[in-house]
């Protein structure tokens, strides 16, 4: 008999997400047969940005996400610059790439060790205190001495992600949330001392990626071979591309494109629409391109279950993230699954770190990275980039020197979206289908799939019994009381 379970909150993600999965036995295997993903927080950034100073966007939108603020600053600055037909001086472009790259290193290391790894490692007897205990402990998890070693790496990774942030602050002013990204470039100036300081830290983080992070992902892959065909999802990928290598942005470290029907194809951003059938917004906010998008809430809307709009490309479902970027760029095409997402993310970390070392050499020492831009009277433009967890776009309209419309399509909107107007489930919802679940009281398989996307929102995964009762899961390990 089918069982519906709700995990609420889904932990080890950024923000508030709720996912409900129905579990049934099909062909002798207990597995997920239906899934619903719900974003459970709404702040209304698009409403709040209207009427503000156009240049406030780069600071304001960074507060959408404290894990990937740099990407929002990049998208916001790029939108204004594109709208004015300009680009920052080379030093500005390079310093912004370096800060963005530093945050990629930070975010990817954080994802594997601190968000995802506890789905694979049995830490009982090793990490029994809060916040790690109670923990899941299923028979398939890595235990014993290997687990102890991996926990050691977990602690080392805390230090490495901190160093990556320190690196980003050298040209970013501070992290999280940089101060130096402004329309017109980057206000920092790369002195020889700063470049050297950056290079030393980069070397340390790169060593960790090569000697620890990538081997650890390989170790997980070796133990969890099944996950190379679990969590495939929609099978189509989109990347806006990121890290402009010239002022026009026509060459990028990771290029723009999409993968569908077994081939990489060009991406026409004008084909993106957002749908709201399953989201708590009024019907007239649906089926709109982001450039003309609207955000009007309807918290009592019948049939809706999420605060996330559903972005689609030519009405089709697409996944975004490091795997999409690496695939479109031709760097990783082994498959689409939980393990492929983890592996592509790790390999991308190294690719970005190596590119950063080269960018440091390109900086013109003591030269400005900023060229003055006046606050524009009118602008209609978009800024496309990639957050660590996938394609990010800002669409901005400025009238009378004020923002009149601002629409943001985040990577997690793509990945964690619910049903669209054609009732097509979103990428995470699709990826969960067929996921085996051995023990409904420890649905760690479900979390492995969700975490592989590195969702970044306020989510929870709701798992409800068929009779609608919340599934009771006993505390797994000794607690006071």
């Amino acid at each position: 008999m089918a069982t519906t379970i709700t995990i609420d909150p889904v932990t080890r993600i950024e923000g508030h997400l709720k996912i409900e999965v129905t579990i049934d036995t099909v062909g002798g295997l207990q597995q997920v047969v239906d899934a619903r993903s719900s974003g459970t927080m709404f702040r209304g950034f698009e409403i709040m940005l209207s009427g503000r100073d156009p240049f406030d966007g780069a600071y304001y939108t960074q507060r959408i996400c404290g894990v990937c603020p740099v990407s929002h600053a990049m998208a916001a600055c790029t939108a204004i610059e594109k709208g004015l037909g300009t680009a920052p001086p080379a030093n500005g472009r390079i310093m912004r790439n370096l800060v963005l790259g530093a945050n990629y290193l930070q975010s990817h290391i954080l994802h594997f060790y601190h968000l995802a790894a506890l789905d694979y490692i049995n830490t009982r007897g090793i990490l029994d205190c809060g916040p790690w205990g109670p923990q899941y402990a299923t028979p398939d998890m890595i235990g014993g001495e290997t687990a102890a070693v991996l926990v050691g790496h977990y602690v080392e990774a805390l230090q490495m992600r901190r160093k990556a942030h320190q690196m980003g602050a050298i040209f970013g002013g501070k992290l999280p949330c940089v101060s130096t990204f402004v329309p017109g470039g980057c206000t920092e100036v790369p002195t020889a001392a700063k470049i050297n300081e950056f290079r030393v830290l980069l070397g340390q983080v790169r060593d960790f990626v090569v000697n620890t992070y990538i081997p650890d992902v390989q170790a997980v892959a070796a133990t969890f071979g099944d996950y190379s065909h679990i969590g495939a999802g929609c099978g189509s990928l989109i990347a806006y591309g990121v890290f402009d290598l010239d002022s026009s942005g026509s060459t990028k470290l990771l290029r723009r494109g999409r993968y569908t029907n077994v081939s990489v194809q060009t991406l026409d951003v004008a084909q993106i629409r957002e749908y709201v059938k399953s989201a708590w917004y009024t019907a007239d906010c649906g089926n709109l391109a982001p450039a003309s998008g609207q955000t009007k809430v309807s918290p009592d809307k019948a049939g809706a279950y999420s605060w996330i709009k559903a972005p689609r490309y030519q009405e089709a479902v697409y996944e975004v993230g490091p795997l999409a970027r690496m695939w479109v760029n031709g760097d990783y095409t082994l498959g689409i699954s939980v393990l492929d997402r983890l592996m592509a993310r790790a390999l991308e970390t190294l690719k970005v770190a190596d590119a950063m070392a080269g960018w440091l050499d390109e900086l013109a020492v003591d030269q400005t990275g900023y060229a003055y831009l006046a606050v524009p009277t009118t602008v209609t433009a978009r800024g496309l980039t990639e957050a660590p967890r996938g394609a990010l776009g800002h669409w901005v309209t400025v009238a009378d020197k004020k923002i009149s419309r601002y629409q943001v399509v985040t990577p997690t909107a793509w990945n964690a979206s619910g049903r669209d107007d054609r009732d097509q489930p979103g990428p995470i919802e699709q990826a969960l289908l067929g996921t085996p679940v051995a023990d409904v009281d420890q649905p760690v398989e479900v979390l492995r799939v969700i975490h592989s996307f590195d969702p970044c929102l306020s989510c929870s995964v709701h798992m409800l019994r068929p009779d609608g009762r919340r599934c009771t899961v006993v505390p797994l390990q000794g607690l006071p009381v």
């Binding site: 932990t11 080890r12 240049f55 603020p69 968000l115 999280p176």
Partner: protein
């Protein structure tokens, strides 16, 4: 009444069962480290990420393994769903549990490991200490009251409003971490579409009268959190300003300690009157002229320049924080950070203030040629 450990041992042998021994062991496993419950409301997780950067006083792994018992934090904890929420609800040992504990209290050798109140004796007053262990509540993010609180779920089927109602009352101390929790911040930006407010205001609405220590910043600085918690754990009540912020971190303005203050005093102080209002000449602000960089004004000011950024709308004069000294993203223990906003040649935008963001917009003015036209 205090009974010596030895007397207790004798008595224990008579009435304790194996189950009771196990119960006590369990209770004590989590004892010793003060429990912390960290709730995330309407925010961006940036303050949690910033907290992970802690190193000046202690690193985050040192803090979590040896200083506090972080019972609930949804970004880092092991389990999800119901088992994740349940430890957050477990805040003290029940009376029944305490009576069941008596047994094994005494069976652990002579090292007084259970002398919880450090009075040299293991006795019932230690049980009481265990029972009243309490916890520190840390709130990150704002609390939206619109749509019956449904704009933000805290997990476990609770809205953030309900979570705050549940956990704030019994807490020993409440810390509002970040400007959203302190004042509403970015989450409450005009037109505040979700009815978001800070913790103190939310508690007022809920009828809970409680001191709230505000540790603002967008995000907040890890040292401001760790330093304040360290004071609390040492039994010290941090001295607070009128707005509830620890004076040790928020006692002076950015401007007062800014390395560019001498330039300000020389170039711009005369351009404002004693009330801080700009003096104008022939209807034009003197500072507006310094905004022009096309060569006909002495000492023009632009983004990316070293020196005082006051004519770019720098908010350092009204912003309370120790950023000029402490800086951000420290490299190690006792080391100040590698950079900060003004160090990066961009103005302070007052992110630790109640007025952030609406009252301090635009965050900066991009001065350049013809900017005074």
């Amino acid at each position: 009444m205090q009974i010596s450990r030895r007397d207790f041992l004798k008595a224990a042998a008579v009435f304790l069962t194996a189950t009771q021994v196990a119960g006590l062991k369990k209770a004590l496993a989590g004892y010793g480290l003060p429990p912390v419950i960290w709730l995330q409301g309407q925010g961006c997780t940036g303050c949690s990420v910033s907290f992970l950067n802690s190193v000046y006083y202690a690193t985050v792994d040192e803090l979590l393994t040896g200083v506090v018992d972080l019972k609930y934090h949804s970004t880092v904890m092991g389990v999800a769903g119901a088992p994740a929420v349940s430890p957050a609800r477990l805040r003290s040992v029940s009376a029944t549990e305490v009576s069941a504990l008596s047994g094994e209290w005494l069976s652990e050798g002579d090292d007084l490991v259970f002398d919880l109140n450090k009075d040299g004796l293991v006795d019932m007053s230690d049980f009481a200490a265990l029972q009243q262990q309490g916890y520190v509540l840390v709130v990150e993010g704002a609390i939206p009251f619109g749509a019956d609180g449904r704009f933000c779920d805290a997990g476990g089927g609770m809205t953030m409003v309900e979570a705050l109602r549940t956990f704030a009352g019994p807490a020993n101390a409440v810390l509002a971490v970040g400007t959203c929790a302190a004042y509403g911040g970015i989450s409450a930006g005009a037109p505040n579409p979700t009815g978001a407010v800070g913790v103190k205001s939310a508690l007022g609405t809920l009828g809970i009268n409680k001191t709230v220590i505000r540790i603002p910043g967008c995000p907040t600085h890890p040292d401001w959190i760790v330093g304040t918690v360290a004071d609390l754990l040492a039994g010290k009540t941090p001295a607070l300003d009128a707005d509830g912020r620890p004076l040790s971190f928020f006692g002076a303005t950015v401007h007062e300690r800014c390395p560019n203050k001498a330039r300000y005093d020389a170039d711009f102080a005369r351009r404002v009157d004693r009330h801080g209002e700009e003096v104008s000449v022939n209807g034009r602000s003197c500072l507006t002229c310094h905004a022009n960089t096309d060569g006909h004004v002495k000492n023009p000011r632009q983004l990316g320049m070293t020196g005082c950024l006051y004519p770019l709308n720098c908010k350092g004069r009204v912003t309370h924080a120790d950023c000029p000294v402490r800086k951000w993203n420290s490299a190690g223990k006792g080391e100040y950070g590698v950079n900060w906003c003004v160090g990066g040649r961009s103005p302070c935008h007052a992110c630790t203030e109640r007025s952030f963001p609406d009252g301090v917009s635009p965050f900066f003015t991009p001065n350049g040629p013809g900017a005074d036209d």
